[in-house]
């Protein structure tokens, strides 16, 4: 199974450990993973700001990097969703369509494609799950609280395989953290308020770590946590699932 590893721009620059954990985890589970070195970004920041019409060259670069793999996997729900919904090409729509059909976020790749039911992982901490909106309502990684439908959660399913880990509860299971791309700058006041409220929900329930399939949400919450000198840490879910190799 040949996997093309897609590492989002800000993960690459600011959170390389999450990328390393993703790579190691996939390899441990038997995949042959390549990292196309000329990759940059999925184009979402521009598209969400109304500049989708400027993303063509970004899209073409993505297609160039990621054609020819069995799967493309990324440790980022929002980037994967963006590619699934918006990757198109005037030059090669067939290639774009193929990629859209085989790109997966890490959690869903593990539960739906590799279908793992055990993990050799150890993370003896209280962990709160932040359901990123793109992961939740976009990729359907878990049931959405608004719908009258049976409950399920892919992130929870995986975290339940990690020894020593206790999942903490939430008052509002899936309220948005307020990152929202450029929203976090353009509407700074509301964005931060939303982030603070999510953090309070987690800390009220005793979380020591907040995890998510999306580092954008975690980066935003981390900024607030650090500004307030909190002991609570953020951690991408890949690092927990790969945790037998974390030096704590």
């Amino acid at each position: 199974m040949k996997i093309g590893l897609f590492i989002p721009c800000y993960v690459n620059q600011l959170y390389p450990n999450a990328a390393i954990a993703t790579l190691e985890l996939l390899q441990k589970l038997g995949a042959e993973v390549s990292y196309p070195s000329k990759q940059t970004c999925c184009g979402q920041p521009m598209a969400n700001s109304g500049y989708e019409h400027l993303t063509q060259s970004c899209n073409d670069l993505f297609i160039e990097n990621f054609s020819g793999f069995d799967y493309v996997v990324a440790p980022s729900a929002s980037c994967v969703l963006h590619i699934k919904d918006h990757l198109h090409s005037h030059a090669d729509e067939k290639a774009a369509s193929e990629i859209r059909g085989k790109i997966y976020e890490l959690v869903e790749f593990l539960t739906d494609i590799l279908k793992i039911d055990t993990l050799d992982a150890y993370f003896p901490h209280k962990v709160g799950i932040h359901q990123s909106c793109h992961g939740l309502r976009g990729l359907y990684l878990a049931q959405m609280s608004e719908l009258v439908a049976p409950d399920f959660s892919k992130p929870k399913q995986l975290l339940n395989m990690v020894k020593g880990l206790e999942i903490t509860e939430l008052e509002r299971a899936d309220e948005c953290c307020g990152f929202g791309g450029l929203f976090c700058i353009a509407e700074e006041a509301v964005s931060v308020k939303m982030g603070k409220d999510r953090i309070t929900d987690h800390t009220n329930h005793g979380a020591e770590y907040i995890t998510s399939p999306d580092l954008s949400c975690l980066m935003h919450m981390e900024g607030i946590l650090q500004r307030n000198n909190s002991k609570v840490k953020i951690i991408h879910i890949a690092e927990i699932l790969n945790s037998s190799s974390i030096k704590v």
Partner: protein, 458 residues
């Protein structure tokens, strides 16, 4: 002046009082929870939403014939029918109906449409006094402020503030803030208004094409008190309020109050069909941008809206910024997708007042894909030139950087170097991120750099 400030500015002001934000946010979240409980108690809830959505799709696709059918039945029932292209024409029609009968006072029940048309002001300028009889709207009226929520007009006000308004306008005791006592005072005052006004105007929740009747839903009973006591009853409706058959009311009345406030039905769901003896009934069909919205394939589904407000209750941005931050009669997520069609320049900021979280689309009883339309409006707004030019410049720079691996890698390395060695360049008051958040720590190497050093290529 509030009308000229954008959502972000107004929201920042709203957020200066954090306790108040928590209170506002908590009140609306509680209503969202009531909606959830109510939905979970309703068998086949998701099928009901699907049916409502499909009925409204049919309505939009056959609106022309339904409007003719509705008009025909209204006339057979003895109701006078008018068509208004815009707010001005609507207001003129109402004025003429009243002035023809020498009426200079009217009582109104909830109508977002007439609020959008600024009907009260128009009539006041011409010597006709209009009182809003819905308690929340009455409170907003005496405070000279528009409603902040389409269902809960003064959800942003505290009872002490309302008590102060009643003291000033109705002579209640200073400091009185008990909701029951205040409501009783309003009851007595408005009862006299109902008794003495010869004209009443209502909105329309649902207009049934095959019977020519229309339904008005309230909890307070104010629409009925106005309508059954008056000589002249006027109903104002947007074209999109049509539903095809009476039996479809079963679907919509099961969804409306549950979605709005978690109640199985509004206390009063009144079906008006014929005038009573000695009374005139008039109905005004209003376009005001609706036929234009019908022409937009990406946005016409917003015409399905049944004005329940559930999108507002679930939206974290709405809850934490307040309806008045949206500078539009209809605020929140649905407001953000309706307003740009009415005035793109004035409301260009609204589709950006969102994180695109998608919660709104999930609670919408008619399944409008609100968050998808917000994304699409952003593309239109930028293309039509309503985006700040400096934003366009930086977006073009971003597009260039992200389409070139070399520029991207250099930019990344530079950014990390600055964070590590010259943080003061970024950690300052010119960086909005930095106001209440620390910047992320910067690793010495990116993943790309780590990979090229550590992973042997085969």
């Amino acid at each position: 002046m509030k009308g000229t400030q954008d959502h972000a500015t107004l929201a920042e002001v709203f957020n200066r009082d954090e306790d108040r934000v928590d209170w506002h946010d908590g009140a609306l979240w509680w209503i969202r929870q009531k909606r959830d409980r109510s939905a979970n108690l309703t068998p086949q809830w998701e099928e009901l939403r699907e049916a409502a959505s499909a009925i409204k799709s049919n309505v939009i696709s056959n609106l022309h014939d339904y409007l003719l059918q509705f008009e025909d039945n209204l006339k057979k029932n003895g109701v006078k029918v008018y068509w208004a292209a815009d707010a001005e024409e609507h207001n003129q029609i109402v004025y003429k109906i009243l002035s023809d009968k020498n009426i200079n006072q009217m009582v109104k029940s909830k109508s977002m449409l007439t609020e959008e048309c600024h009907l009260n002001e128009y009539l006041a300028d011409r010597g006709i006094d209009v009182i809003n009889s819905d308690l929340g709207e009455y409170i907003q009226q005496i405070d000279n402020e528009p409603p902040s929520h389409i269902v809960l007009p003064c959800i942003h006000k505290k009872k002490e503030e309302i008590g102060e308004l009643f003291h000033e306008h109705l002579g209640t005791e200073k400091g009185l803030s008990d909701p029951t006592l205040l409501t009783r005072v309003a009851r007595n005052h408005l009862r006299n208004v109902f008794m003495t006004r010869r004209a009443a105007l209502t909105g329309v929740n649902f207009a049934v094409a095959d019977t020519g009747e229309y339904v008005v839903c309230t909890n307070e009973g104010n629409a009925d008190m106005g309508a059954h006591l008056c000589e002249v009853q006027i109903a104002s409706m947007g074209l999109e309020k049509i539903i095809p058959e009476r039996k479809h009311l079963g679907v919509f009345l099961r969804l409306l109050a549950r979605s709005a406030i978690g109640q199985p039905i509004t206390i009063y769901s009144s079906h008006f069909r014929k005038p009573r003896p000695g009374q005139e009934m008039h109905l005004i069909l209003v376009d005001k941008g609706r036929s234009e919205l019908l022409a937009r394939p990406d946005f016409r589904d917003s015409l399905k809206c049944i004005k329940c407000g559930s999108c507002m209750n679930t939206c974290p941005v709405y809850r934490k910024s307040g309806g008045l931050s949206y500078h539009n009669t209809i605020s929140g997520p649905i407001g953000a997708i309706l307003a740009p069609n009415l005035d793109m320049k004035k409301h260009a900021d609204l589709p950006f007042a969102s994180t695109l979280c998608g919660s709104c689309s999930n609670v919408c009883p008619v399944k409008i894909p609100i968050h998808e339309q917000l994304y699409k409006w952003r593309q239109v707004i930028v293309k039509e030139g309503y985006s700040a030019s400096r934003k366009t410049f930086s977006m073009k720079a971003m597009a260039l950087t992200l389409s070139s691996p070399e520029i991207y890698n250099t930019a990344g390395k530079t950014g990390r170097w600055i964070l590590n060695h010259a943080p003061f360049a970024i950690n300052n008051k010119f960086n909005p991120w930095y106001k209440q958040r620390d910047m992320p720590d910067s690793p010495e190497q990116s993943f790309s750099e780590w990979y090229s050093k550590n992973v042997k290529k085969s």
